[in-house]
Structure formats: structure tokens, C-alpha cells
Symmetry: C2
Subunit: 469 residues, 2 copies
């Protein structure tokens, strides 16, 4: 099993540990904090609930997460090492000396630092070529971005391996070609943070008003297109040049106070923290995390449905996780978690989603008999003509379910499937579905016999299921 | 019919016109540009397709949009006037003189300006009390935020009426209590824009890399929580104070180049525009708009499902649009547009969504017979025990559909409904559903008779439908 070492197990380190473990990696953690195991456990609980909701494919078996008393013990045999210790350069430099004394020289040695340059981290290191920055964003188990920043001394092999591993655990490695303080994203966060502090300090807006100004407006644009593509559209038919001509001049206007930095003192902290308490104080951090994760899962799944931005990345990763069905009778066609966007305000799966699970089940069976994406692209498919669903029990967001499918009839253009949706924990029957499908030509939109290869596969499968019945 | 005047019909003015019209207002437009009608028509087409997808309720009849040769003609009888002319102060000031010479002194006179203060707009005005800023965000027909900025001279009545009207058309009026250049949101946009120009100018990142850095990471956080609540969570169990203690010091670090402003020259424009072309150039602005709107609709509906941020606002607005069902036989229980998140990559409505439409239909009927939210909150409801759906024809995203519902049986705890989903354009049958429901106690989760009021309503309705059959 692939092995990752997590050095520093706070909110960020814990997020890394969760992502690696849930993607099937063995995870070895080092963190001197006596509370580390409890804190990391809380992050793991959040991740275990939310991350699998992003995927339709069956998730890998989670890898074990173990805690170790020394760094050298934690890194032994690790192919990927992620450092997330506090933002103190001397501390990080010392940590790399200790890690490199014990770790595999071929392992990726990555830092979560949001500010330091890789060359600074490498300064007193024996093997600088092994070190780079892989800067993630909280929550690490849901947000895909990881800024991968090498220094001129980092070896090309390490850079490539880091990008490959991060892609494998569902992240988006953004290769930052030149090292600068705070990389790319945190430059923006810092600029906005400064401006926000001024607005609150000057009494222009409260923390809550500022959050509304962002999430009711441009935050939604940025979540799906970012800055430049959004502005390109704002430029209208004349595009980016027109936009720049229109707004270029503003650069010289006094539109921001960022020429100056607010003094960071207790009064400012009291002001901001006080307003933040008033805004969110009635909800605990756990509740806020749950709310944030539900929102992110729903938004990411929405983008996945559109096949755009972060959603396109997740869809591709989902495909890479798919396994061919095992040829059992009945066939297990679906194994998944009920995601939050499938449930109503009470957390119960909506009636319509039962139908979707069963249509997903038949789609998996289609693929199994060769009526896959390529077959459909070539002009043929199966359309559902009729479904009969019996609802036996409720199911909740986060619950693991699976579907058993029997072929009841497979003759020429006709296909009849019997699905049973069950709860994974106790095998209880949640719903059953009798589904009748017809093979169609996507050209004429009329029913017709399947192409020989599929027809034979259907009839063979129907026979197997009949014999086993 | 309520009447709005739109002065300036570009991308922003067109978005305002679309929002007012689609929310049932009569819209009168003034724009000297001979191309105005065509340009505004393009925005209207986008809005007509996208905005109704945010709602489950039946939308109001769109109000007529007419073009007028003079401002005085356009504003006659208008209760709300939105100015969106180019960002030149003298021009705007002259426009207000002309508008106020003709408009109702009680009308709201709002500016879309992204930079000017209301007191600047009022400077040479006869009735400053009538003028305020209502700063929207593109696309105006999808993004809820409108920064409402009064000056000390703006009358409280005008401020309240503006907020009320904006709320009525589904927007989020953010009352900015102190007027400053660029209000609130554009302060952040300007800060980020400057930093982004530096990163591109210095060759650190391309426009595409910057967009990825935003939409794969913090853009997703900001779309649902904004800045401060996100950071509060990042602070972990110790909250905002801990976060500030951790990152406060960065303020004095050289993390941003914003102490300085890049020179705005042709080289910079060429560099940015060139990269933007390379990034998005293969898609036309129309295609990009379509993509953006689909993403925003899907994300906003995702947040609506969670009842959070912009989604909570839309859900509340949706409820305010709901009308009681007419007591016809059959009853029309659903009238809606098929939203993009209900369709597959080919744009066809997913099998599961048919079931959802029918369950929405029965929910509307429940409400009609008194088994409404309050009844459910009090501990009783109807659960679907079995559905039989026949699929007759495909339907596409953006298509208008309706559902006719017949009560086939209403006796004690038993309720059987017959639904027919039809295409609005030609009444063609898309699917039919036979749905069997049982009345249950939410306490025991077992079936039981409805409370008298509902039981009588059901049996009366069943009788009516039987007689009419």
C-alpha cells in the first residue's frame, strides 16, 4: 500500500491525512501535541462524511492512520511526506534536516507553507532537490487546489512525482513557475484581508456585511470562473481589451486604501473578533464546518454536473476510480454514500433520487454489457420506458447504500431489470425497482435491436441470471 | 402594472431590464445607442433562459419591455428608475437633471455606478433626497447583490422603498451605511485586480493560472461563506482571535505589491488581452455567458438546496412567488422550467428528475388539502409507498413543463394520484405517473388516518375528481 507521512497534524495536516487515507494510502502521522490524535480525529470525521459525497464511483478502502513518536519513525517507507508545522522558517528548516536524515531520498518532501519560498526552506538542507512547496487550502479534503512551487534546485523528477501523486488523490496541482512570497492565491487573500480590515476599522462595514458583499456577488463568479474569464465576459462582445479600456483608469483612482497597512493592535483584534462572534457566535466551529462542507459538496457536485471548473476535475477523478462490475448474480451495480444534495431539509433522500440511483444502476449494467459511452456516442442506447418503485424505508445523507441488480428479461430490444437498494450497514431493503428499457437508435429515436456484440452479451447475462434464479 | 425605467441599456442596464421584466414589471428603456435594442435583446435572451431556472414556483407573467426616444418619455409613470450610463461623473449629473425634470418626485432614482459616491451624483441635483446608488453585479439577472448606498441627503423613505423593490425582484439589498469610493465589493475587486496585473506583468502567472488559483480554491469558499466566517473556521476551535494571532503578523510582511500600482500602458493591455485570448478565445462571449449562467444556476440551486447564503435568499423569494392551486379537475400542480442541473450532458432531463417533478406535484396537492409545512411540523405527513412512471418523450433544459394531477383515490390513510407531465409549448405528454401514498405519523413512522380537517379535504377532493371523471 502507498504510504504518506504527515508531519504536523493540525487543521491542515489533518486535512492532508484524511485525503490520503480516504484515497487508499497508509498514513503515518507525527505531531508532538498531546491533543493531536483527538484534533486529527475530528478532521477525519468531517472528511469521512464529506469527501465520498463528491464521487459516484465506489471509493477505495481507506488506508490506516497511525501516530508515531518520532519524525524518523513516521517517514520510514513513505513515498510522499507533507510538512504542516507552524509558520516559523527556522523551525521548518530544522524539521527538514531531521526528516532528510531518515526519509527515502526519492520521496517527495512537500511543505504546506503559505508564505515561505522553497529556496528558503531548502537553505540549510542536505538534499534541496527533494524539497518543494505544495500549498493546500482549507478544507484540504474538499478543495482541489494545491500550489506546487519548486525552487531552481528542486529536481524535475520530484516535481513530476508530486503533481502525479496530488492528481491521484483528487487535487489540482497548480505548478507555480516562479517562487515568490505567498505564492499566488495568498497574494489575493492578503490584499483582500488588508482591505477588509480597513473597512471594519473605519466603520464602513461589519464582518457580516463584508461576507454578504462577497457571497451574494463576486464570490459566486469566482467559484466557477475566476477573475479574468469573468472580466472577459463583462467586456461584452469586445472582450478583454474593452474591459481593460473601461476599467484601466480606475487603477489611478483612490479606490483602495492598500497603499497603506492598518496597524495590527489589540483594538483591531477586539473589533474584528467581536463582530465575528456576533455574526457566527451562535454556531460552534463544528457546526460551521458542517455547514461549510455541505455547501462545498453541493456546489462542487453542481459544477460536476456541468463538467466545469473544479467539477470537471472531480468528474475525471471519479472516472479514474471506477472499477468494472463483478459478474455475480445478483450484480452489485452501485455502492455509494447518499450526498447532501440528494436529501431534503430533514436529511431524508428525496423520492426522485431513488429513481436516479436505479437509473445509475442500469447505466453501470449497460457499461458492463458493452453499451458504454463509446456505444452511445456511436448512435445507440437504452431508454427507460417504465419504472415501478416500491419505497420500503427512508435513508439519510451520509448513509452507505448499494444496489443489487437482476436481469429479468434480455431479449432483442427488450431489457427488464430488477433492482434492490439496500443499506450497507445492515443490508436492510430500502427500495425495489422494476425497470423496463428499450434499445433505441439515437438517430431515429425509435427502438431497434442492439448491435450483435451487445445483444449477445445481454442474452448471455439474462441466461446466467435465469439459471441462477 | 408596476413600471421601471432603465436609463442606459448595456450589459448592466440590460440585466436590470431583464430582472424587472421577468419579475412582472413593465420596463421602459432609454438608450441612444442605435444597437441598444439588439444588445439588450441578447441579454434578455440569456436572462429568460437562466433566471426562471432558479425557481420552483410558477414565475409571474413577464412585463413588456419598450424602447423610448427620450429620457422624459422613458421615466413617465415609473416608480423605480435605474441609471446605468458610462462612468463619467459630469454625464451622470446631467442625466439626473434631465430625469428629475420629468420623473415622479416620489420615484426611486438609483445609479449602477461602481465608483462614484451618491453625494457626488447629487451635487447639482434639484432633489438630492431622491437619489441613491444601487450597485449590482454582472450578470444582474442571476447575482443577488445590490449595494444600496445613500448619502446623508437621501431620504429614508427612498432608501426603504429601494430596498423593498430590490427584495421584490429577488435581489439582496446590502445597505452600505457610509459612502466611500467604490462602495464595498469593488474595493476587494480592485485590490485583487491590481495584484493580478502585477503577477501577470512580472511573469509569475498567466491569466489562466490565476483563474485556476481562484476557482479551484478560495473562490469556492467565498461563494458560500465569504471572508470572515471562512477565516473563523480556519482559526479552529479557538476561532477568530486565534486566526488573527496566527496571520496578523503577515500584514507587515512583503506579501503583496499593492503598496505600488502597475503602470497602465499598451504593453500591459496586450499582455493581459493576449493571454485572455489564449485562455478563452476558442469560445465566443455568448458561449462563455451560457457557460457562466449554467454554472451559476447550478451553484445557486445547490446553495438553495442547503438553504444557505444566496440560496436561502432565493428559497425565500421562491416561497413569496408561490400561488395557491386553482381548484380545477385535473389540477395543474406544477408549472416550471427544466433547470440545467436536472439534465445530463446531452441536455435531456434525467430519469430521476421525472420522479422529483411528480413528488413536487403531490407536495403541492398536499399543501392544497392542508397537509402543509405546519401540518408536517406538527407531526403528520404523507409518504410515497409506490410509484409507477411511464416515460413517453424526452424533455430538455429550459423547456417549460406542467403537471396535471387527478386524485384517483382518497380514503382514510390511502391516497392515490395520477399525474401527467406535459410540454407547455404543445401540450405533448412527456410522462405519466401513478403514485400511491400513505398518511403517516412522523412520531411512530407508521401509517394512520389524517387529522379530520385534512381527511375531509382529501375525501371532498376525491369525490370532485370522481364526479368529473
Amino acid at each position: 500500500m502507498k504510504r504518506a507521512a504527515i508531519i504536523g497534524g493540525g487543521v491542515i495536516g489533518g486535512g492532508w491525512a484524511a485525503r490520503f487515507s480516504l484515497m487508499g494510502w497508509e498514513v503515518r502521522v507525527f505531531d508532538p501535541d498531546p491533543e493531536a490524535e483527538r484534533k486529527l480525529g475530528a478532521v477525519m470525521d468531517n472528511a469521512r462524511r464529506a469527501l465520498p459525497m463528491l464521487y459516484e464511483a465506489r471509493m477505495p478502502e481507506p488506508g490506516p492512520v497511525t501516530f508515531h513518536g518520532t519524525m524518523s519513525d513516521a517517514v520510514s517507507g513513505a513515498g510522499y511526506i507533507q510538512e504542516s508545522v507552524p509558520e516559523r522558517l527556522e523551525l521548518k528548516q530544522k524539521v527538514y534536516q531531521t526528516l532528510q536524515a531518515a526519509c527515502d531520498p526519492g520521496a517527495v518532501l512537500a511543505s504546506s507553507t503559505s508564505g515561505f519560498k522553497p529556496s528558503e526552506l531548502q537553505a540549510i538542507s542536505a538534499r534541496p532537490e527533494q524539497i518543494l512547496v505544495a500549498h493546500p487550502f482549507n478544507p484540504v479534503y474538499l478543495l482541489p487546489l494545491a500550489e506546487v512551487v519548486p525552487s531552481p534546485k528542486t529536481s524535475p523528477e520530484i516535481i513530476e512525482r508530486a503533481k502525479e501523486i496530488l492528481t491521484g488523490i483528487g487535487m489540482f496541482p497548480l505548478h507555480v513557475r516562479a517562487e515568490i512570497d505567498a505564492h499566488i492565491a495568498d497574494r489575493f487573500l492578503e490584499a483582500v484581508w488588508r482591505e477588509a480590515l480597513w473597512l471594519v476599522k473605519d466603520g464602513i462595514a461589519t464582518t457580516e456585511e463584508i461576507d454578504e458583499a462577497i457571497r451574494m456577488g463576486f464570490g459566486l463568479r469566482w467559484g466557477q470562473m475566476g477573475l479574468f474569464e469573468t472580466y472577459r465576459i463583462a467586456g461584452g462582445e469586445a472582450g478583454m481589451r474593452h474591459f481593460m479600456a473601461q476599467f484601466g483608469p480606475c487603477l489611478s483612482w483612490p479606490w483602495t486604501k492598500l497603499m497603506d497597512v492598518p496597524e495590527f493592535n489589540d483594538d483591531l483584534v477586539d473589533l474584528i473578533a467581536g463582530q465575528s462572534d456576533a455574526q457566527s457566535g451562535d454556531r460552534t466551529i463544528r457546526e460551521l464546518e458542517r455547514e461549510r462542507d455541505n455547501n462545498l459538496v453541493a456546489m462542487l457536485r453542481a459544477l460536476k454536473g456541468q463538467g466545469k471548473a473544479a467539477g470537471r476535475l472531480i468528474a475525471a477523478h471519479d472516472d479514474s476510480l471506477r472499477q468494472p462490475l463483478e459478474d455475480t448474480v445478483p450484480m452489485v451495480t452501485v455502492r455509494r454514500i447518499v450526498p447532501v444534495d440528494w436529501t431534503d431539509v430533514n436529511g431524508h433522500m428525496n423520492e426522485g433520487r431513488y429513481g436516479q440511483v436505479f437509473s445509475d444502476a442500469s447505466e453501470e449494467l449497460m457499461t458492463h454489457i458493452g453499451a458504454d459511452k463509446a456505444y452511445i456516442a456511436a448512435g445507440h442506447s437504452y431508454f427507460t420506458a417504465e419504472t415501478n418503485i416500491k419505497y420500503h424505508a427512508e435513508t439519510l445523507a451520509g448513509e452507505a447504500i448499494f444496489v443489487e441488480t437482476r436481469v429479468l428479461l434480455g431479449q432483442g430490444r427488450k431489457l427488464r431489470l430488477g433492482h434492490a437498494m439496500k443499506r450497507a450497514s445492515d443490508g436492510a431493503l430500502l427500495a425495489s425497482c422494476d425497470q423496463f428499457l428499450l434499445h433505441v437508435s439515437l438517430e431515429t429515436r425509435k427502438s431497434c435491436d442492439p448491435l450483435p456484440k451487445v445483444r449477445e452479451a445481454v442474452e448471455r447475462l439474462a441466461q446466467r441470471h435465469e439459471d441462477a434464479a
